[in-house]
Amino acid sequence: MKVSKSAKAFRLLIAGAFAASVTVLPISGGFAAGETLGAKCTTEGESTGTFSTSLVCAKNSAGRLVWTKVKLSASNLKPIAALRAPRGSIEFWHWRAEDKAWFDKIIADFEALNPGVKISQVISNSGDYTATALQKVRTNKKAAVVTTFRGPQFNQAAEAGILVDLTGEQFTKRNVIKSMMGAGQYEGKQLGIPYQSLFNNPIYNISIFKKEGWKLPKKFSEWISYCKTAKAAGYTPMAWMGGFRPQAGQIINSALMNTASTDALLTSRIQALDTGKDAITVSWFKDMAGKYAELRDAGCFPDNPKGVTEAAGNTLFATGKSPILPTGSFSMGGIVTLNKEMDGNMGITGMNWTDDVNARYTGITNNTFILGVNKNAGRTEQRIAKAFISYLLTGPVATYYANSSKQHVTVLDVSYTDANLRNTSSIMSERLVLAPRFIFLNQGVRDILEDALIAIVGGESVDKALTDGAAAIKQRLG
């Protein structure tokens, strides 16, 4: 069928008008006064993530904080309201005892909105949860909302077919930040909704940087210079805690993020190490390990680094003896507990281990708390679970959870009132990669590999540490 030029032009005009009406108009309606594209913003990092495209206060290429338009959700439509739940009772399985109080309130509100619904939290410590939760929920029809850790546990649940596919749900398409959903995807399906957003990037002391007139390092050579300058000024440049592997290993995320030209290559390289196909003496890993030695030689780490515990590292940072805590946004709550004056005095920065300021990635994100629906739960229970998840994914509920738990969330329409969350939420608009440390699925291999890097910081030569580590991994994998 032939279509005339004028008809084509008319169709394009209609399509353009429709696109503008569904995107631009809702956006303009969603912004608070004064939040204008390109205009200066004073509160660093506050996200007003609304609808499909949002204004986020972030640094532009010149380093100025401006309201920047970014597309956050998967669709162009408004976030949906919470689904209605049928009558019934379900269990909500998770390990975050520290969140119990917030969830109690959220659940009470949800139950009030849905008469006849009862949700009880089943909380165990993270160790027990990792070891036994999936086995238990398999035969429990009431365990409808099941959370999983990113990595081995989520994969295990996905492989065992425990999780309901949420790909087609409207709340998946419209209520969440699309770029932060990766941790809940398996073979192209959205089997879980990552709820919290963590940022495993160094935290810095804003007032020290201001007082000393330092700029945040943007590339590896600047990190080396920063360490030398900070050391000379009497600081411990980075409160790195080599005595506690889980936190000492956080910087490996930044170290790994730009070691390959594509995500697929990085994943395949890590998988090769994880399965023993490649030894950790492989050249790309050796180059990366060599940078640990460079940082060590520049005085970046504390004295006796292998003996520095998590508490000691946090103390170094909280007391202002160290301007940088190389762990992540999740450490901020603990720092404020140690020193109230640090409240609102912490920023976050990526750690670029290359000398290219335009490297593919500038920072790390991660999600551990992945919400899922148990396929083995009853039909009604599954409907309640979906309704509850949709409720958690509405702006006001997620705002309450985020500000109470002092964690960023992956949900649109969230307004962070906590000063530390506001100061660090600008990282959301950076070029983030899901923490590559968790591509390792064999914890035993990862532990040995991280021990080798810790040994390098402790003074061991790169060659010896990697050779010893490679032998141990080979032996472990049998």
Binding site: T132, Q135, G243, D303, G307, V308, T309, G444, A472
Partner: protein, 308 residues
């Protein structure tokens, strides 16, 4: 009691039980039943199950895959980390058993008399025992901290920098530092056991030794030590088992690091199971641990039994 004696009488044929006796037997059996059920459910069944899992490759979630004795052969012949951890455990046990036994005996001898000072000091030495092990670990982690910790700060302040070591960060020192903490933690408990044992020694023996002109050392060598051997056997057996079970202290202080240098068998078993999801192999390691403790305790008892 009387029934047993009657039944055991030489040449006497067992008398048929009357109705009452049979009813009594049933009651006795019924009375032990709750304990037997609980024991079977919470001890026997898991133990047998553990034996079953030790012959499998199992991630704790899917179906266990039978691998025969592979886990055992690998553990005993081809597992460098297991060997390292086993030797750590032997060193740790050796240090703890020797020092804990020696110090608890020493404290018990000095604090044997029921004077006010002795009672105060006994309470003081016993005090760490009632603190939770994780709290003890946290306190000592802080004390041992190489840069901010009070031990090194003190040593540096008096000019003994050479002694200000990286207590929990050095592969050669960490295990010994934790062993010291373990001794500090439990020495008061063993001291109390010794005091109870030493108080049973008849005073006449010391009086006779004194009449014979024995000095304090000779009294210790000829009276106290031989008479305290049964208590020593108990203390050593208990300390050995305790040192093999020091999971909480080791895990909370170093998680077995650096580079497995402070890992002991129980921490390795935990990490193998819950960190690496190798439940079958962890079951094998735990069976080895049980057999090893049994053998060690039997050996200790044998050595000490020949002495008393």
């Amino acid at each position: 009691m009387s029934r047993t004696e009657t039944g055991a009488r030489k040449g006497a044929s067992p008398r048929p039980k009357n109705k009452l006796a049979r009813a009594n037997d049933r009651v006795l059996i019924l009375m032990t039943l709750p304990a037997v059920i609980l024991y079977s459910l919470f001890y026997l069944y898991p133990t047998i199950n553990n034996l079953r899992y030790s012959l499998t490759k199992w991630d704790g979630f899917g179906e266990p895959e039978f691998v025969g004795l592979n886990n055992f052969s690998r553990m005993l012949t081809d597992d460098l980390i297991f060997n390292k951890v086993l030797s750590n455990n032997i060193e740790f046990t050796f240090l703890v058993v020797i020092f804990q036994t020696a110090f608890s005996l020493l404290f018990a001898i000095f604090l044997l008399k029921n004077s006010r000072t002795s009672t105060f000091l006994r309470t003081l030495y016993f005090f760490p025992t009632i603190i939770s092990s994780v709290s003890v670990a946290m306190v000592w982690q802080f004390l041992y901290e190489p840069n901010l910790g009070p031990i090194n700060v003190f040593l540096k302040s008096i000019g003994w920098d050479f002694l200000a070591l990286n207590w929990l960060g050095s592969e050669t020192i960490t295990l010994r530092a934790i062993a010291f903490t373990q001794v500090w933690f439990h020495v008061g408990q063993m001291m109390v056991v010794y005091i109870a044992g030493l108080q049973q020694i008849p005073a006449e023996l010391y009086e006779a030794a004194e009449v014979d002109g024995a000095n304090r050392w000779q009294q210790f060598k000829s009276v106290t030590w031989p008479m305290a051997l049964p208590t020593t056997a108990v203390v050593m057996a208990y300390t050995t088992i305790q040192s093999f079970r020091a999971f909480d202290l080791v895990y909370a202080m170093t998680q077995g690091g650096p580079n497995n240098s402070s890992s002991i068998l129980v921490t390795l078993i935990y990490l193998t199971a819950f960190n690496e999801f190798r439940f079958g192999y962890a079951a094998t390691q735990s069976i080895f641990l049980v057999v090893f403790i049994l053998a060690l305790t039997a050996l200790q008892r044998r050595i000490l039994r020949t002495r008393y």
